[in-house]
């Protein structure tokens, strides 16, 4: 059933967290498909479940998370149900992650070079060769003086350098799937542009797929081929980046794009917002999760869960009001 170039497939993924306030339904039947050579954006605001989805992709879910349904398949195999040793064999080597904050992702008391050698523990080569590989990868991501940087500690590097080093570390094992969690959030706009440029250049020699998790529509517009928009633990729309931006079908996608000040061409003193709040995910609504904030809401939206409506070969939305 799985298409040969499908690398990663998330099916009906449902994850809950046990918390003091009850069971939090963080992901409610999320799904996505990533093929080799694609750059995919996972977009949404705080609390939409994108970080839980990213953690599930790399099999690093928190200890209070429970997968109640669904699967994450890498090359057809469900990675969530594997024994721990098999999970470790995949993590880092086949599916790697660039974490949000490169400062805390690295060990502060070891030089970068030592850490980058350790990341290659799967390989049989001697340390000297691993160090040379690390050096070559640092040079590849545009770090000047890679020999010098190998001996540096993280606090000695600038924010942009750290982010480049984090990308180099994730790519060391040439993983098929690279998950980048908010790769530019900690950076200034000029560094952000440079990291986007770097990721674009890397996609050409990276044979696999890159998944970019972000709340920043600008990053998606500049970088991605396809997008999954998330809201309240669900994928509410998927499509090509051009369709999502120019012809969004889900009202939440449309509202999200309208809110981005970068989208407004003319001077607008009163910025658009999305009135209302996210639903409480300890008691998710029976109907559409966006109903309370939606301009097109009907009685049916409040009562019934919306269907997944396919509008074209590449675009689909989770909405009662969308027609094919």
């Amino acid at each position: 059933m799985t298409h040969p170039d499908v690398l990663l497939e998330v099916e009906n993924l449902t994850i809950t967290y046990a918390s003091d306030g009850g069971t939090l339904h963080a992901l409610r039947g999320a799904h996505l498909v990533a093929r080799a050579g694609e750059v995919i954006g996972i977009v949404g605001e705080s609390g939409c479940g994108k970080s839980t989805l990213a953690a599930a992709l790399i099999n690093l879910l928190a200890s209070n998370a429970r997968v109640t349904a669904g699967a994450v398949r890498f090359r057809g195999q469900d990675i969530l149900t594997l024994p721990d040793a098999a999970k470790r064999a995949i993590r880092g080597r086949h599916i790697a992650m660039v974490f949000q904050d490169p400062m805390t992702a690295f060990n502060p008391v070891l030089p970068l070079g030592d850490q980058m050698v350790d990341y290659q523990h799967h390989l049989p080569q001697p340390r000297r060769e691993k160090r040379a590989r690390a050096r070559a990868m640092l040079a590849r991501v545009g770090i000047p003086d890679p020999d010098l940087v190998l001996g540096r500690f993280m606090h000695e590097l600038s924010g942009g350098m750290r982010q480049r080093a984090a990308i180099a570390a994730a790519l060391l094992m040439t993983p098929e799937v690279l998950v980048a969690d908010e790769p530019t959030t900690a950076l200034d706009v000029t560094m952000e542009a440079q990291i986007i440029h770097l990721l674009r250049a890397l996609r050409h020699d990276h044979q696999g797929t890159i998944l970019v998790v972000t709340h920043h529509l600008g990053v998606v517009g500049e970088l991605c081929d396809r997008v999954y928009v998330m809201y309240a633990g669900q994928v509410v729309e998927e499509g090509l980046v051009d369709d999502i931006y120019h012809a969004p079908r889900h009202p939440y996608t449309a509202a999200l794009i309208a809110c981005d000040p970068a989208h407004l061409e003319t001077h607008t003193p009163v910025l658009p917002t999305i009135p209302g709040r996210l639903p409480d995910l300890t008691a998710p609504p029976a109907g559409c999760a966006f109903a309370a904030r939606c301009a097109k809401v009907t009685a049916r939206c409040r009562a019934e869960a919306p269907p997944w409506v396919r509008v074209s070969a590449t675009q689909a939305a989770l909405c009662h009001e969308v027609t094919p």
């Binding site: 924010g159 350098m161 999200l256």
Partner: protein, 324 residues
Amino acid sequence: MSALYQVAGLSVDLPMSSGILGAFLPGPKPTLNLLRDISLTLNSGETFGLVGESGSGKTTLARAMLGLQAVSGGSLTFQGQPLASQRSFTALRRDAAMMFQDAVASLSPRMTVTALITEPFVIHGLPLPDAAAKAAELLAQVGLPPALAGRFPHELSGGQARRIGVARALALRPKLVIADEPTAGLDVSVQGEVLNLMTDLKSAFGLSLMIITHNLAMVRHVSDRIAILYLGRMVETGPTRAVFARPAHPYTQSLIASEPQPDPRKRRADLAIRGEIPSVLRRPPGCAFHTRCPAAQDICRQSAPESRALGAGRQVICHFPNPI
């Protein structure tokens, strides 16, 4: 419009540690030049945007303007009165309030919301007959439910903490509010809410606002005038719309061109700016921007350009500004 706050020729230097030998060596002690020759005027009722990358001196300028950072040269004037003594700054901080950068961290974790938003009265020894009533009034003004009054900061969301910051800043009915990164870390829809709230309160109370940010897309819509800082120099200033329409300084131009575009049809082919902002410890000679400037010539490497007026309220520090 009348001038509310004037900054003229402001410089901020920090003494640098020169080791134990330095204490005995003759000659001037080494200093770190954080801000040099900053001149700007905030008018009553206007919103002024202060833009720059990390390390450009934005926060230092705001702190110096409120007397929270010792200055080494220049003069500050509020409503025609010179600010020189600690006493004058204490009085100023009744009329000019600051919203600090990290909204949650700037709220004391052991105080309730009521105590936090009425604390300015306590600090300035002003009468506060009914703290609960005042707190309720302030909460209503910033659009928060009265039920929040007894909460502690860790029980607030990012957007709510930001609104508490606004309430605290407005408690004493100031004439000027300086907001340091008021939208950093907020989702786009919440960003709009916080900014709209600030704009509404600004017109309701006749406030002046100074917004410190690196978010160009946002500041372009909410500010009347902007200033761009680079390594402690104010490289360009002018009316926001004119500056965005035709940036005079190559740095301003590259900043605007670096902003990621959400529209995939406007995807950028090439980088507008390369390299990183140099450290203030190693400030380039001549024009500080020459190391990254696409238009740099010999004179830029040798001599620092002077500030020049371009007309229409615009000023630039550049040897070869773009025609406006």
